[in-house]
Symmetry: C2
Subunit: 367 residues, 2 copies
């Protein structure tokens, strides 16, 4: 039957029909009605992190990576020095884009099955006073590991270093309270835990920091200082906004608030993750991470060691049953990933586990 598959991925995710239906309208990007929608969306986003007092939020066209690059380009001065705490693929991407744009960048690597360490950061900052900014991934989607945001923020605050947080896959699911944290920029996107459709990111920037960021960016499109100044002045996006994506996100945020905001979303995803991990354990699957490090966002599983296993065939068989899994992103061990996020609940997770069980039987790998 022609029925949408359930997306068990790190995004794009399964969204509600209500969110998608919000796209059945064309908006004039210069018009007051659209400006009001943008303003309301920005206010709602800011409220999620309690950032009203100290921060602004700057939306940006493109995927989440565009917003990460824009955040680095805007808040790190050209003579700045970024230390990236690296325990996975998205950390490496942050390091790469900072290097490419010409910012001095130091990558500090940890094993992919460990969280980054605030203690190590303490030592690194002591050892090299030229470091001006720390780049940090809240939930490293490459593995699903949860990194210690509060502890890293505390160290940065104590040393007077700017903190840039990629909260792409954690925002709206895990607690992020701008009143307790100190960050220069925190980045997320429409198509993740807010359960909108992909096509825009947004960056929370500390007001006192943004005020000093004019002229930092070598990119016109990615200059968040400019984007913010223009939006404050006119109410409009500087360049053509993805109007339908914005409308879908506004509708998704309404449903997020109706559900009970971040605590409710975390509770649902935690339940999704528990259902998945317990069910997969019964099928003999072992998570790559220790439970204490596992964020309830995306779970990396070791691939079955059975000779009949092949990811491609496994993926296709699960897809034929209505579920899209995700490949692993590790080079050393063979893994695959299953997302716990999107407009899905316990039913969908249990159905997915059951389908994976059926797939194993069919492939002759019940292990």
């Amino acid at each position: 039957m022609d029925r949408d598959a359930i997306l068990l991925t790190p995004g794009p995710l399964t969204t509600t029909l209500r969110t998608k239906l919000a796209m059945l309208r064309d908006w004039g990007s210069w018009d007051a009605d659209f400006n009001a929608m943008t303003a309301e969306l920005r206010a709602q986003l800011l409220a999620i992190v309690h950032g009203e007092e100290m921060h602004v939020v700057v939306p940006l066209q493109g995927s989440g990576t565009f917003s990460v690059e824009a955040a680095v380009a805007t808040v790190v001065p050209r003579d700045g020095h970024v230390l990236v705490l690296d325990n996975g693929a998205y950390c490496k991407r942050l390091g790469k884009l900072a290097t490419l744009m010409g910012r001095r960048t130091t990558i500090h690597q940890r094993a992919e099955d460990e969280a980054v360490s605030a203690d190590e950061l303490e030592g690194l900052l002591r050892a090299d006073s030229s470091i001006t900014h720390v780049g940090f991934i809240h939930c490293e989607t490459g593995t699903g590991v949860l990194n210690p945001l509060q502890a890293v923020s505390d160290v940065c605050a104590r040393h007077g270093k700017g903190l840039i947080v990629d909260a792409m896959s954690s925002f709206a699911a895990l607690e992020i309270d701008a009143r307790k944290l100190q960050f220069d920029a925190l980045i997320a996107a429409s198509g993740k835990c807010l359960e909108g459709v992909p096509g825009m990111g947004f960056v929370f920037v500390r007001k006192s920091v943004l005020a000093r960021c004019e002229g930092n960016s070598h990119s016109l499109a990615m200059d968040l200082f400019d984007q913010h100044a223009y939006m404050e002045k006119t109410g409009q996006w500087r360049f053509t906004p993805p109007t339908h994506v914005v409308a879908a996100l506004a509708e998704a945020v309404r449903q997020f608030n109706e559900e009970g905001g971040q605590p409710a979303r975390l509770a649902r995803y935690t339940d999704n993750c528990g259902t998945l991990v317990r069910g997969m354990a019964d099928l003999g699957f072992e998570p790559f991470l220790k439970p204490a490090l596992q964020a309830p966002i995306i779970v990396t599983f070791h691939a079955p060691s059975h000779p009949a296993y092949q990811f491609k065939a496994f993926y296709e068989a699960a897809k034929a049953r209505g579920f899209l899994l995700y490949p692993g992103k590790l080079t050393q061990v063979e893994t695959f990933r299953v997302g716990c996020i999107g407009a899905i609940g316990r039913n969908e997770m249990q159905q997915a586990v059951n389908a994976i069980g059926d797939v194993l039987s069919d492939m002759g790998i019940r292990h």
Copy 2:
């Protein structure tokens, strides 16, 4: 009544319901079905400019300006020198982004009510042999003026200079034949004359040029060499694609082909433009441009010189009647703009003219 207004703007545009309905599905961005949609879309886009032999097309997340910046960053080497033929706001934007990213940039200014001149270009290239690339806007949306693409391409080809064409508001409406032209890069976007929704751009790049572009870009997200290489290797977008925007564009291109492709679209827009200009003339409105320079995309009109005229009130009154107009972008004379593009035809244009007539009467400015 709660009915969508008709967008008489340079984009986002009024799209068909069929195009919007294509967004009621969630796609896995890693999945073969989505990859097939991307591949088919790219093939269709390439066919529109007959670029199959000499060019590739690289889609990019974000607004059209992101794709313009990416094109310059990718095809102009870091020690290149860009000459921008400037007769309007979008030319200036191209010059600004090239300057910001550190490329040597020379702006050659013309009056906004004139087309750029291939003869002048000839002289400029003779006078300064350090120029490596020419930046050119096909239809300058600031005024609606049509610039001479073929003649400029011929001059660039004769001098062995790279040509970068911003065809944002002309692509799919005006003839662009890659077999007759010589360009390094030609840029357009989803939410313009293809009548998709906004959220992505795409750049046609000459294969032999792209092959030499590795490492030119200082931006990770905007590196079209990388984006292309990854897409060729995996079938996937390098970073999260705006899946719903892609699906809408694929559906919009199907309707474009069903309508009869570029000649049919040009015929409809030409008819729209004629209906508009004749109707507005009857109301006493004078176009800013001479008829020979007017592209059938967007028309700039002189504002009424009547003391009761105010753009804001005029705009609101037209909006109340169901039509969204567009402000002027000229500093010297007071103007407003009316778009002729999008999923609209003679009926909508005549209704718009009638509504504007009613607005003038109500405002007491029947001039």
